[in-house]
């Protein structure tokens, strides 16, 4: 009996020790890395979701350049799948063992800063570093006047149009739509209807673009929340915007819209590339898909989103990614140095040229427009993007209601399904989101 008792204690002791040992070795590892820091190289773990294709190649080449350019720091690149990266980093942060640098969503920087998931890197940055970036991008990295990351790349929403269809319809560059009513007029001239079925669609606003984008375009750049985090869903102009979308839906008919929507999903059958759709609002990155899938003689142009009314501004929406140092990372200074390198002019230019991303660094984009790395179409894309950036609005997640999206979408869906009027839907959404804000107070 004693024997059994002994064995049991021994096993338990081993288990406890194993647990303890595991921790100790981990700590020891950390100690050695910090020791190495003073004498030898520091290894930084860099997480991103660029797993294949041009982005992966170019980021690996950039990291190689960086590793060779100095001998203090070695960057280790870790690819994390898109669906996992942020939940994984969240648990890594909670466990106290995060990556050193991570690519994060630009619209939720403040949310992470508020929850102490990201490191304040202000003191490592040179004054005036903000001038590198489009101002609205840098603004999203600010929380209580401190900087919690630097913007890396971005995007913006524009309208792609089929040049041939325009030409055949006798439309010139002068006729490119500048306002919503001009857009409607041009779309009507490009529509083709045979026996009650549309064989060509001029323009339908909701393919690839959210109601939100049109709502903020109509409302002078104010999205569902304004700068002061007040709920601004039910406004006069947003009602008009939603009504405009409902009118377009009624005009083309749900059947036509559903049919083409399903086709937009797959690359080669893309109705815009086959000429079934004359104009299409899309993220500017759509260019890469056109390059891959369009027939050789396909000609297209890009214009900014039209103004709601003359003079109301070509307001559009953008997103993007930042580079952050998660809370608990050990080598903040070295990590920030690497972030600075990744956002510097030349590196940004290199990444842009390879991936066709619109970069957060203004000068990199200008260099791409004027340089020789891109062909004429590529330069035209970057030129439009650069123009559009001046009226591109970002929509940082409001801390008072971070998960408001489902509430708004439910009401907008109800309107699109014909269950509610535009007015009623936005009114209900406003009430629902205000209720959520109240819950968080």
């Amino acid at each position: 009996m004693k024997k059994v008792g002994l064995i049991l204690t021994a096993v338990l002791a081993c288990l406890v020790l194993l647990g303890g040992c595991g921790k100790k070795t981990a700590d020891a590892d950390k100690d050695t890395t910090t020791n190495v820091k003073s004498s030898k190289k520091v290894t930084l773990d860099f997480w991103s979701f660029w797993g294949s294709g041009a982005r992966r190649e170019v980021i690996e080449s950039i990291i190689k350049d960086y590793n060779e350019s100095q001998d203090k720091v070695k960057i280790k690149y870790s690819y994390q799948p898109w669906g996992d990266i942020w939940t994984k980093s969240l648990s890594a942060i909670t466990a106290g063992n995060p990556p050193d640098v991570i690519v994060q969503d630009i619209n939720s920087v403040a949310q992470r800063a508020d929850a102490k998931q990201a490191t304040d890197i202000t003191k490592y940055l040179d004054k005036g570093i903000n001038k590198r970036f489009y101002s609205q991008l840098f603004k999203t990295t600010q929380y209580q006047n401190k900087t919690y990351g630097l913007p890396f790349n971005t995007d913006t929403q524009v309208i792609f149009y089929n040049k041939k269809i325009f030409k055949n319809a006798g439309l010139t560059d002068k006729d490119l739509p500048q306002t919503w009513s001009e857009l409607d007029a041009v779309a009507r001239t490009l529509d083709i209807k045979k026996d009650d079925t549309f064989t060509r669609i001029g323009f339908y606003p909701l393919w690839s673009l959210d109601t939100q984008v049109w709502a903020l375009n109509a409302d002078g750049g104010t999205s569902w929340f304004n700068d002061k985090n007040q709920v601004k869903i039910d406004t006069k102009n947003k009602r008009k915007a939603l009504q405009w979308i409902l009118d377009a839906q009624k005009y083309y008919g749900k059947k036509t819209i559903n049919r083409l929507e399903a086709e937009f999903g797959s690359g080669v059958a893309d109705p815009f590339l086959s000429g079934t759709v004359a104009m299409r609002a899309q993220n500017i990155n759509y260019y890469t898909s056109i390059k891959e899938n369009a027939p050789k003689d396909f000609e297209f142009g890009v214009i900014q989103l039209p103004e709601f009314q003359k003079g109301s501004g070509h307001k559009t929406w953008g997103g993007g990614f930042t580079l952050e140092v998660p809370t608990g990372a050990k080598h903040v200074k070295e990590s920030v140095d690497f972030i600075k390198y990744l956002t510097s002019d030349k590196v940004q230019e290199k990444f842009g040229a390879a991936s066709f991303d619109i970069m957060a660094n203004k000068k990199a984009n200008t260099n791409l427009i004027n340089g020789k790395q891109l062909d004429e179409t590529g330069q035209m894309i970057y030129k439009t993007a650069d123009q559009a950036m001046s009226s591109t609005v970002l929509t940082p997640i409001p801390l008072s209601a971070p998960d408001y999206n489902n509430l708004v979408n439910e009401q907008i869906d109800a309107a699109l399904l014909g269950q509610k009027s535009a007015k009623q839907a936005l009114k209900d959404a406003q009430t629902a989101v205000e209720n959520l804000v109240k819950q968080h107070k």
């Binding site: 009996m1 059994v4 008792g5 064995i7 049991l8 096993v11 288990l15 942020w86 939940t87 969240l90 942060i93 909670t94 949310q111 508020d114 929850a115 102490k116 998931q117 749900k254 059947k255 559903n258 049919r259 399903a262 086709e263 809370t327 971070p402 998960d403 999206n405 489902n406 509430l407 979408n409 439910e410 869906d413 109800a414 399904l417 269950q419 629902a432 209720n435 109240k438 819950q439």
Partner: protein, 302 residues
């Protein structure tokens, strides 16, 4: 109470020693986290920066203010109420049919079991294509019979039925259980039933069905629990994993996930998980209570 002998004590110790791996695993990885969730449900825990005790506030908010909580509970209950009986009936039906002794039966068994082998995201993507309103196979077949199919995943009235239909398709797992049980039903029972003049339906009703009730019972309990935990389907099959259109696929666990990882409101999500735990526990207890009335064990009541 009689005092245990030395031998009994020793045996008990060895017993504990051998189940220790399970016990340790259970305490560390099951009971520990559950206890933590219980404690966390009374706090404003957000994973990284705060964990203050806020009493019953999470529960109050859930029941009184959060409309999406009720909506997600409704969606989940709707799914469970239809999914559990339908998949059970369908898999029994399949098993009975595939239990005939005919040439090539193995081939059909394999075919019907295949969907259960395929799993996860690939199946959902496949079904999204099948269910596509204009180009999908299902509506194409319906159109041959001059039926205009619904827009399935785009119409809030049809999203849940579409999902239930998809679940029926992969009833092969449960079918296999029933098939195994059916083959264990002693043939002499059928023989004597036949001598007594019972027809096919009566044989099924009075011999087959009672003999497989333990497995039906098991299947109903596990699939009820599984149905309440539905998450992946909605996360993968709706745009941006939001549970649309009109939140018709916003299931309980999806709402909980949004609260935890979109809003970082982990305390609230933990409270939600506790409520789900209670719901499932109560349902299982009811099932257990009702079981003796209809579940028949061949070896007696043990």
């Amino acid at each position: 109470m009689t005092k245990r002998s030395l031998r009994q004590k020793q045996e008990a110790r060895w017993g504990f020693f051998f189940v220790a791996p399970f016990l340790i695993g259970f305490v560390l990885f099951m009971f520990g986290p559950m206890l933590f969730s219980l404690i966390g449900s009374f706090t404003d825990y957000n994973l990284t920066s705060k964990m203050n005790f806020i009493g019953l506030n999470n529960f109050k908010r859930m029941f009184l203010n959060d409309d999406l909580f009720w909506k997600s509970l409704y969606n989940t209950a709707y799914f469970t109420i239809f999914n559990v009986p339908l998949t059970t009936l369908f898999s029994i039906f399949l098993a009975v049919i595939l239990n005939q002794k005919l040439v090539g039966m193995r081939f059909f068994r394999t075919i019907f079991y295949l969907p259960a082998v395929l799993s996860g995201v690939a199946v959902y993507i496949l079904w999204m294509q099948l269910l596509s309103p204009s180009t999908g196979l299902i509506n194409t077949i319906l159109s041959w019979f001059h039926i205009t199919g619904p827009s399935w995943l785009f119409d809030p009235n049809w999203t849940k039925p579409a999902l239930i239909m998809m679940k029926l398709w992969s009833a092969g797992g449960a079918m296999l259980l029933y098939l195994a049980t059916l083959q264990n039903v002693p043939t002499q029972l059928y023989e004597s039933a036949e001598i007594d003049g019972a027809g096919i339906w009566q044989q099924f009703r009075h011999v087959t069905l009672p003999m497989i009730t333990p497995i039906i019972f098991y299947d109903v309990i596990t699939s009820t629990i599984g149905s309440f935990q539905i998450f992946q389907e909605a996360y993968v099959m709706t745009s941006n994993g939001q549970g649309g259109p009109a939140n018709s696929l916003l299931f309980y666990n999806l709402h909980m996930w949004n609260k935890a990882f979109v809003g970082f409101d982990m305390g609230y999500a933990m409270a939600m998980s506790m409520v789900l735990f209670m719901i499932v526990l109560v349902l299982t207890l009811i099932n257990l209570k009702l079981a003796p009335r209809w579940v028949h064990y061949a070896g007696g009541d043990q």
